[in-house]
């Protein structure tokens, strides 16, 4: 009976290890998908704007280009674009943020979100953890943001994976 119990425990443990491995993978893969979207847009926007006459044409294009993109099964993936002074250039979900300067904006934990994203983009790109409104949910949720500079501009583009 004791041996039976031990074997049952081993089975449960094996199950847990198997499942945990796949779950860990899922965050890693979702990060790869975030990179795929951000990197594609950084390069294609960066090349498109060199043919454009002025800032208003460029900004108009960027807003049109990021607007239709949603990804992840719950459609929680979307783009945002800022300049390095933290002025919002384009936001696929919260249009009310466009043209606003979010340099002094802090999340519910006191983090200067856009300053950190800007610094990360200026350093070449990477991840920043912060809290942000999640579409279809109430209150701020923990998010892993990924940003890259947009070549030939003073802008950076980002997206993120909600971690809760």
């Amino acid at each position: 009976m004791k041996r039976l119990l031990m074997y049952s425990l081993v089975v449960v443990l094996a199950c847990t290890v198997g499942c945990t491995k796949c779950e860990d993978d899922s965050l890693e893969w979702n990060k790869q998908i975030a990179i795929a979207y951000v990197h594609s847009y950084a390069i294609s926007i960066g090349e498109a704007v060199v043919d454009m006459a002025d800032d208003s044409t460029r900004i108009h294009y960027i807003r049109r280009a990021i607007d239709p993109i949603r990804f992840y099964p719950d459609s929680s993936g979307y783009f945002y674009v800022y300049d390095y002074d933290c002025v919002n250039i384009a936001h696929a979900r919260q249009k009310n943020l466009q043209d606003q300067n979010l340099y002094d904006y802090t999340d519910t934990r006191g983090k200067y979100v856009i300053r950190e994203l800007s610094a990360m983009a200026q350093a070449g790109g990477g991840y920043v953890e912060f809290y942000w409104i999640k579409p279809g949910d109430t209150g701020e949720k923990l998010k892993l943001g990924y940003v890259e500079p947009i070549p030939n501009t003073d802008y950076f583009i980002g997206t993120g994976v909600y971690l809760e």
Binding site: D25, D51, I69
Partner: protein, 164 residues
């Protein structure tokens, strides 16, 4: 003793199922990454070209935009653009194909690859299995391609996962 054997078999089975699940997932995730690159580029190129005066500006832009992008850990992921008559517009893996018409190209198994892609893109986009050269290897390898129409153009864009 018999019971012990049965339990051991169950443990092994559970481990095997856990591992297989993750491996199967890997193709599914790699397909999602191909979709991410193709969809991003389809939308961002489609919006960019509406501001461009002529075909030669559009084509030069598309080539600049897709050429720097390689993905997957072995860098076997890249993008290609054709028109619906089989003319290659841009190809990151084999730039010498650009300007060539591949309507009559067949893979080693006799499939009219570009014709099938065109038909799939015309019907809104999707997957096509075929054989194609793999960067850094000799001979054609089996590949799962994913294509989408580029909005506001007569072009479609694709990428693929090598299955071997």
């Amino acid at each position: 003793m018999k019971r012990q054997l049965i339990y051991s078999l169950i443990v092994v089975q559970v481990f095997a199922v856990g591992c297989n699940k993750c491996e199967d997932d890997s193709l599914e995730w790699n397909k999602q990454i191909a979709v991410a690159y193709v969809h991003s580029y389809a939308v961002s190129i489609g919006e960019a070209v509406t501001d461009m005066p002529d075909d030669s500006t559009r084509i030069a832009y598309i080539r600049r935009a897709i050429h720097p992008v390689w993905f997957y850990p072995d860098s076997s992921g890249y993008l290609f653009v054709y028109d619906y008559n089989g003319l290659n517009i841009a190809h990151t893996g084999q730039p010498h194909l650009e300007g060539q018409n591949l309507w009559d190209h067949q893979d080693t198994r006799g499939k009219y690859v570009v014709r099938e892609f065109s038909a799939t893109a015309l019907s809104g986009g999707g997957y096509v299995e075929y054989y194609w050269l793999k960067p850094g290897e000799t001979g054609e390898k089996q590949k799962l391609g994913y294509v989408e129409p580029v909005p506001n153009t007569n072009y479609w864009i694709g990428a693929g996962v090598y299955l071997e």
